[in-house]
């Protein structure tokens, strides 16, 4: 009975519906069916077509041709132990290029202790920190670093480059916003890439520009408060910029951090062990409370004259990297003898704080002298041990400038002063970096030697440029 009723009902629906509606609905049905079937079929290729395509496929070569004259292929050969003096390509030179700010590379005490450590632990650590790669020297170094900086926790990486590049993506994730100085070093740039966050660059050392960008962000946040609640904001700066030698305006940045609730990451690769009366870095020099900074990272390949890097911060923040810092978890730990070298360097930091003053005085002296070049222009803070020399009269493009500077560097080395051009992968930097000669000050240089170097560079540069 019900069946017949239902049939009648359907029949009446069909009879009562206008024809155009019926036609339309039928067409719709056909379209849907066609779309479904069509999609499932896709652009399916037959076996023969596939074979043909595979046969025809011509990939690009794995790598392009490299110009045999490429500047990065022409590396110099170091033929002696690196110290205040160094033999480069057969020329005995005064060293103004190695980032050996405190002269620890020549320190026999550190060397002896490292060798003693080699005799206890061997060379390699044969495992990541999680899997029996943690030796007591690693724990010791971490404790010492945390104590030295007056913070709760330190975490040691086995490569300077990977330190900050791993630390940033441990916290910043997709959807977060990172405000970054436009002249940050390449290692930070790689950390930013790995985080997949939104990157906002502000003008170099320009707190006003940062504030403008933060205000813009605030406006966006008001429009979308739900998203704003979930978006972490970071500010990444360097203490002394590797690419410019300038100091960051830390107090202003800290004020902005507070106002706009940012988390501040500070890379002290150069400033650690060079600034401040005890070598604790830019925070000590500018008298900024270290609790205002969320995370401080630094390489140990500068003032500490070993390999590796570390991050320090509160327990809450730094500890997180032990489970999330990719370069920490998945890499073999730092060879114990190099770890010992870092501990011994810290010993020296604590025992002889006068070395920092010596370095700073010398950096200032170098700064004052090197301002006097006629054809070269100095950039960098007076206290910074890293300074850049640019071509004073800007040329048409960076390539010409780079070639000129390479000539200057070559001639300087021939005549006995080692200076090198800062190496950049121009096409991989987020913006091209102006070529420069990068000067690294070594504490052991005497004023006379600096004057001698000045005269030589002045004569060479006047001749070439």
């Amino acid at each position: 009975m019900i069946g017949i009723q239902l049939f009648n009902e359907i029949g009446s629906i069909f009879r009562n519906t206008p024809t155009f509606a019926l036609v339309l609905e039928t067409l719709l049905l056909i379209t849907v069916v066609w779309l479904l079937l069509h999609k499932r079929g896709g652009r399916r290729l037959t076996k023969e077509q596939q074979e043909y395509l595979i046969d025809q496929y011509e990939p690009e070569p794995l790598v392009g041709e490299t110009d045999p004259e490429h500047p990065l292929l022409r590396t110099r050969l170091v033929q002696s132990k690196v110290g205040k003096r160094v033999v480069v390509d057969g020329h005995d030179c005064l060293n103004l290029a190695s980032h050996n700010y405190l002269g620890f590379l020549e320190d026999n005490e550190i060397l002896e202790e490292a060798c003693k450590c080699l005799r206890k632990y061997g060379v390699g650590s044969c495992g990541p920190r999680g899997f029996y790669g943690t030796m007591d020297v690693h724990l010791d170094l971490e404790d010492r670093l945390a104590n030295f900086m007056g913070l709760e926790e330190a975490i040691v990486y086995s490569y300077g480059f990977s330190t900050v590049a791993s630390a940033i993506p441990a916290y910043a994730k997709r959807g977060d916003i990172i405000f970054v100085d436009e002249d940050v070093n390449f290692s930070i740039q790689k950390g930013l890439d790995a985080s997949r966050s939104t990157i906002v660059y502000f003008k170099h050392n320009d707190a006003k520009d940062l504030e403008r960008l933060l205000q813009e962000q605030e406006k966006r946040d008001i429009k979308n408060p739900k998203k704003a609640q979930k978006t972490r904001r970071f500010l990444v700066v360097e203490g002394i910029y590797m690419n410019t030698g300038e100091l960051c305006p830390l107090p202003e940045l800290v004020a902005l951090r507070k106002q706009y609730k940012l988390r501040l990451f500070l890379d002290e690769t150069i400033s650690f062990g060079t600034l401040g009366s005890h070598g604790r870095g830019i925070t000590e020099y500018l008298n900024v409370d270290r609790d205002e900074i969320d995370l401080i990272s630094a390489g140990m390949e500068g003032s500490m004259a070993t390999i590796g890097g570390f991050c320090v911060g509160s327990h809450f923040i730094a500890e997180h990297q032990r489970l999330s810092g990719l370069g920490y978890i998945f890499s073999a730990s730092l060879p114990p003898m190099l770890t010992q070298a870092a501990i011994s360097a810290l010993d020296r930091f604590e025992r002889e704080p006068q070395i920092f003053e010596q370095l700073q005085t010398l950096s200032q002296f170098v700064h004052n002298q090197f301002q006097g070049f006629t054809k070269l222009q100095l950039r960098g803070d007076k206290l910074s041990p890293v300074k850049h020399l640019y071509v004073a009269q800007a040329r048409d493009n960076f390539e010409t400038e780079a070639k000129l500077l390479a000539k200057v560097a070559d001639k300087c080395i021939e005549k006995g002063v080692a200076v090198v051009q800062a190496a950049y992968l121009q096409d991989r930097e987020h913006k091209p970096v102006r070529p420069s000669l990068r000067i690294a000050v070594n504490r052991l240089l005497t004023n006379d030697e600096v004057l001698e170097a000045f005269k030589l560079i002045e004569s060479v540069s006047s001749e070439v440029l």
Binding site: V63, L72, H99, C115, Y121, G133, T134, F161
Partner: protein, 616 residues
């Protein structure tokens, strides 16, 4: 964690060390559950300087160590689920004798050993399946594993609700967006913390065939640790010391020290600026010769070798076909490169072919179906968590068919595989020129640090001009380079001895023996029979901790891996074998593993067991 059977009898576990002239025996009593206070055990090991034996056998360094090891703190507790003590048939089985191992390593024995090679009868695929095992988990274990994991999570959540977590809180950051993902911090606080003592264990010795653990205890259920001041000597089955080059004495250490004194500890500059020395150039040449290719480039960190060079080789319009079990460094490198990444099932040639075919035929969907600029297959030689070996001959065939390029990460396999120790390429007797990019690390078999990429001169020149690490990162430290150089020369036989060859054979023999004995015990192991990385499946999260803790009480140090490093289902213990291990050390370990797996119920395997004793 099951009932601890305190009533079970203690046992005497003895260590015998000898240098052939006389033996000193010492022992440490260990009881189940409780380690008696103030029990000390004195160990003596005799050291003899490295001697070259007349028959060309491997020299062995024996350490003289007169150390009193206090074993008073209950730093490690044994976990037993079934009653009964450790039953060794006789005292001899529960001990290991380096002296006997010395005899075992003699030339006669090595003659018997045949390195594994394809015999030409089986196809590559058949051979792969014959030698590789991935036994399925029994259904009830699978259910229990999930149940156990959920229980752990539920308990964790209840714990979090009821008690205020004892963790550091953020100061002076009120109103900030929370820094961490809620699940991530929950997981590390309430799940990982329960077994936290099993990882990051500090050691205070060479990570050689044995290591010395610095004992630590926790008074607050894993939130923090405190050192007891005591030390525990363990057989080391956890470090990547495949060829036994981790040593504080001998030629490698001597030459490294000498080099450090000559050249210093670092260069404080990148290779491109002022960090390029003859030492680096020599190492690069030697590495190229070692790999059988034109040129090589070396870097200071293995992780960075992948992470910082893959972006130089790839661009956004490239396709990468990557094995699902690839290491984090490869994944990071691929992410940084911006290339399209497609993942294929672990070691499945069928799936790889499907992905390649789709890639070639359908092109880049992001680019309107245009063909990809280039296709790169990314695989590892030995997969560190699976213990499996890449199916290289088949991959080379596929790569040629689809005109793809091949990136082979030999982090674990270089040195440890093949009759000449030159990695899986050597093992499969493939032509190194068929692999476009040979990558490897110096951390493992060479007992040093760093990584290399080897290939054609064109490739390496390109990398010199474009690699991130070459341009910006610090140049490798001289003693580190020297360690690599010396150990590599020894492996290649350049020093005029066959120490290197003996080490390679010892490792291969250890591997086969250990894997076969494990199969006989009845535990499930993964991977290839010739892979020195041996994962033993324990499945349950809690069992990972239980096994590691129990093995430590028996003086064996191993590594565990669980979620998130592995799938939830596949908690495992990983053994890494070394050429430094002697048969007696392995026998000791295997007897203990047998006992522990009986007690904790790890004998999951349903495969028939070999009733005959396994020949070494």
């Amino acid at each position: 964690m099951g009932n601890l059977d305190d009533a079970s009898a203690g046992f005497e576990q003895s260590y015998v060390h000898s240098n052939g002239n006389g033996s000193v025996k010492s022992s440490t009593p260990i009881s189940n559950g409780h380690i008696p206070n103030h029990t000390t055990f004195v160990e003596q090991r005799q050291k003899s300087d490295e001697q070259q034996q007349q028959n060309g056998e491997e020299t062995e360094e024996q350490l003289l160590r007169l150390k009193e090891l206090k074993f008073s703190a209950p730093a490690y507790t044994e976990i037993r689920t079934r009653s009964g003590g450790l039953n060794f048939k006789n005292a001899e089985e529960g001990s290991y004798h380096p002296a006997n191992g010395h005899v075992e390593k003699s030339g006669k024995r090595s003659d018997k050993f045949k390195p594994s090679q394809a015999d030409g009868i089986l196809s590559a695929e058949q051979e792969h399946y014959q030698k590789t095992s991935f036994e399925d988990v029994p259904l009830h274990t699978a259910c229990l594993t999930y149940l156990g994991f959920y229980l752990l999570m539920i308990l964790g959540y209840i714990n979090q609700l009821l008690f205020v977590p004892k963790v550091a809180t953020e100061k002076a950051r009120d109103g900030y967006v929370t820094l961490y993902d809620a699940f991530e911090s929950f997981y590390s606080r309430y799940v990982y913390r329960r077994v936290r003592d099993c990882w990051n264990r500090p050691i205070c010795s060479v990570p050689g065939d044995e290591l010395i653990l610095k004992d630590r205890v926790t008074d607050d259920y894993g939130w923090s640790f405190r050192f007891t001041g005591t030390e525990t000597r363990c057989l080391n089955l956890g470090s990547y010391n495949y060829l036994g080059f981790a040593s504080a004495t001998g030629r490698c250490a001597d030459e490294s020290e000498q080099r450090a004194r000559e050249k210093g500890l670092a260069y404080c500059s990148s290779r491109c600026e002022l960090g390029n020395t003859q030492l680096h150039i020599d190492l690069e040449r030697l590495t190229a010769r070692y790999c059988g290719v034109e040129d090589a480039i070396v870097f200071g960190m293995g992780f960075a070798t992948n992470a910082l060079n893959l972006p130089a080789l790839l661009g956004p319009k490239c396709l990468v076909v990557s094995d699902e079990k690839n290491h984090a460094s490869i994944i990071l490198g691929l992410r940084l490169s911006g290339a399209t990444t497609k993942v294929f099932k672990h070691n499945s040639m069928k799936d790889l072919e499907r992905v390649l075919r789709n890639g070639v035929c359908y092109g880049n969907p992001k680019d309107g179906g245009k063909p990809y600029k280039k296709i790169l297959i990314c695989v590892e030689g030995i997969f560190s968590m699976e213990g499996s070996i890449v199916r290289l001959p088949e991959i080379i065939a596929l790569k040629k068919k689809y005109k793809a390029y091949l990136y082979l990460d030999e982090a674990h396999s270089v040195g440890s595989m093949g009759p000449n120790g030159r990695g899986v390429v050597d093992y499969f007797k493939a032509d190194p020129k068929d692999v476009d990019i040979l990558m490897g690390t110096f951390t493992k078999s060479f007992g040093s640090a760093g990584g290399y990429i080897a290939g054609t001169k064109k490739l390496i020149d390109y990398l010199r001009a474009n690699s991130h690490a070459h341009c910006y990162a610090g140049s490798i430290s001289p003693p580190i380079v020297q360690q690599i150089y010396t150990s590599m020369s020894i492996i290649m036989g350049d020093d005029g001895t066959n120490t290197g060859r003996n080490k390679i054979q010892q490792l291969a023999r250890n591997t086969r023996y250990f894997r076969r004995r494990l199969a006989q015990i009845g535990v499930i192991t993964y991977g290839h029979e010739d892979s020195p990385v041996v994962p033993m499946l324990v499945y349950l999260f809690s069992k990972i901790g239980a096994v590691i803790r129990t093995l430590t009480t028996r003086h064996i140090a191993v590594v565990g891996a669980g979620f998130p490093a592995t799938p939830i289902m596949e908690g495992r213990i990983r053994f890494c074998l070394s050429a430094a291990h002697t048969k007696e050390q392995l026998d000791y370990a295997l007897d203990v593993i047998d006992d522990v797996s009986e007690n904790l119920g790890l004998k999951y395997s349903r495969k028939p067991r070999d009733p005959n004793p396994i020949e070494y």
